[in-house]
């Protein structure tokens, strides 16, 4: 296997790495590689921080192993190679009445990446996390051995949400979810403030629910935003337009506070006072940002950070205080997301817990970095946790305290990969494999 020395970055582009990447096109090539020089897998580098980076080391990019190996139209179980992107899976199966059970906010995430972070979607309150729909997976360990892992296998809960530390996931059997077709019927509603938002999120019985928050609004308007509730449907809508691309790094003023405030106000007023129901292709609802390729370049060369935490239901006031801190700073960028999470999680290091999750983007500047540190302490104090798929700034000690099974996980992982061949920049930064 040839290795290519590459500079690559997490989606936030604030953290980068230079290292050797392999990109096998056949399973035999992957197995041979793992036998010779085991390395962590990476998917499409849609995690924001350093989960997908291995500076000065090797990594195996999985995008070329992306085939559908089998599908049972009665049960909706599909077997796919781990480099398959979720948006492609949805494109192929939605017209046949099936969707991946869980889809994150980008269709460019791979099945391997979705398992390794046990991702959640806009239906987490109803169906739980991605890993809960994995029937089995095939793993090549750092010893080069291939093992089929079902949910009763001791390594299952260490692999789901396991940050690639148990081996390279080659393929997985996924239980998909029935859908009515490849369009989605979305009801959008203006929400005037925080309490109203939580009330609506708690009461929503839609299959898919997401809240867009104007993280610049303060005072009475704090927590205002748009609630989107959706169900799949069938029928004709105009096909999604061609993707546009951000061709270069934007200058610093592109996301200046005044611009963001104006954008947010307009985004909010886009939805009429009394709400509306629209029908769109599923991609536009599930992956709204994928239409603009490389939108992460809008933040310029320095990149950006996403802060995402979840806090237990009874800690809603603490989350409100965090939002106040964010709004007061004037640093937030347009898109902030508020969701109600259910208890569903499938791995020892999975992020979800029953409660509310808030995700906000910040440009990579000293003041934002300091504020994110404060938000991290707030999260810990509230008994919540920070999402590793988004993190690039947390401190190891507080992070580890947020994940009660971290030690048990580290023990299992260290036994599986005693030489630490699969460690990544994130594992080292947060000391995640320390027992």
């Amino acid at each position: 296997m040839r290795w290519k020395t590459t500079e690559y970055a997490g989606w936030g582009r604030a953290l980068r790495a230079t290292g050797d990447l392999a990109r096998p096109e056949r399973v035999t090539a992957l197995a041979a590689l793992m036998g010779e020089s085991p390395a962590p897998a990476i998917g499409n580098c849609r995690s924001y921080g350093d989960a997908c980076l291995n500076s000065g080391g090797k990594a195996v990019q999985m995008l070329r192993l992306d085939r559908i190996k089998g599908f049972d139209p009665t049960s909706g179980i599909v077997t796919v190679e781990a480099g398959m992107q979720l948006g492609e899976l949805a494109r192929i199966f939605a017209p046949q009445g099936w969707l991946p059970a869980v889809m994150p906010g980008t269709g460019f995430a791979t099945v391997g990446g979705a398992i390794a972070h046990d991702v959640h979607g806009k239906n987490h309150h109803g169906v739980g996390s991605f890993g809960q729909h994995v029937r089995a997976l095939t793993l090549i360990g750092p010893d080069g051995q291939t093992t089929r892992i079902t949910p009763d296998h001791p390594l299952f809960r260490a692999t789901v949400g396991g940050l690639g530390q148990t081996g390279v996931i080659v393929s997985a059997e996924l239980q998909m979810l029935k859908c009515k077709g490849d369009v989605i019927v979305v009801t959008e509603r203006r929400i005037e403030g925080w309490d109203e938002f939580l009330g609506h999120l708690d009461a929503s019985d839609a299959s898919y629910t997401v809240g867009w928050i104007d993280a610049t609004a303060q005072g009475d308007a704090l927590g205002r935003g748009i609630l989107e509730e959706a169900e799949t449907g069938s029928g004709l809508v105009t096909a999604p337009g061609r993707a546009k691309s951000v061709p270069f790094d934007a200058p610093g003023f592109a996301l200046a506070p005044a611009v963001v405030r104006a954008f947010n106000a307009a985004y909010f007023r886009r939805v009429p006072q009394k709400g509306r129901t629209v029908v769109k292709p599923i991609q536009e609802f599930f992956f709204p940002l994928d239409r603009i390729r490389n939108w992460n370049r809008l933040y310029g060369r320095e990149g950006f950070h996403q802060f995402q935490c979840v806090v237990p239901v009874d800690q809603a006031p603490a989350l409100r205080a965090m939002l106040e801190r964010i709004a007061g700073s004037g640093l937030a960028s347009p898109l902030a997301v508020l969701k109600r999470m259910g208890p569903g999680r499938a791995g020892m290091m999975s992020f979800p817990m029953e409660g509310y999750t808030l995700a906000v983007d910040f440009p990579n500047r000293a003041r934002a970095v300091r504020m994110i540190a404060d938000l991290e302490s707030d999260t810990l104090a509230a008994g919540g946790r920070i999402y590793l798929a988004k993190d690039s700034l947390a401190k190891g000690a507080s992070l580890r305290a947020m994940y009660p099974e971290q030690r048990d996980w580290a023990e299992l992982v260290n036994a599986t990969d005693p030489d630490g061949a699969l460690a990544t920049d994130m594992i080292r930064r947060l000391d995640l494999r320390t027992v």
Binding site: R2, W3, P24, E25, A29, K69
Partner: protein, 247 residues
Amino acid sequence: MAVKKGEVWILLGATSAMARAMARQLAERGDALILTGRDMDDMAATAADCEIRGAHDARVVAFDARDPETFQPIIDLLDERIVNAAVFVGSMPDQGDIDSDPSLVDGTVMDSFTGPARFLQQLAPEIEARGAGVVVGVGSVAGDRGRLGNYVYGAAKAGFHTYLSGLRNRLTRAGGHVVTVKPGFIDTAMTWGIEGMFLVAPPEKVAADILKAADRRRDVIYTPFFWRYIMAIIRAIPERVFKKMSI
């Protein structure tokens, strides 16, 4: 006349990234596939993938350019449907390795030229009998001019180009057609991590170009298209200058 739906496509060398991309695109328009090559497990995965994406059916058969015994069983699979073929096989050992081990010349020529040519000789009567069918031969810009870095591979591909032009002459009069494809640098396992690659094109783009060329019965295409101009310049360099260059 465009290639119609529901036809059969034989892909020689179906484990290559370019062939896989083309198989998927053929699958999405409902064609039937015969995938051939050496790694049977890998082709089985591609076949399953193609059937789920809409292929009429996808079969997997062994093909080894260096083993002519494997050729006839592929031909024997054909029924009365129109048959098309695309040749992706070829091998490019490091020129330095060939320089120190001249016996590598034979395998390179067999993989990239004589093996596929002999197979196509066996297939040609089938196309003539049906009065239709397209052969796509994937050659290389390396075949346009012999150069220091890969002249044995280049020579094999040049031979293949000449063969394809003759086959085109033969099949055209029987209602068939031959497309010669000259890819530049394509982003595959073959070029991954090799120094000096530029303007590397994704295999999906190349596959789409190939299908379009087959539909429109183009004779010779470069893909991506700009390689036509790059190669025009390279061919225009006088030999007395070229022989001292290392490009």
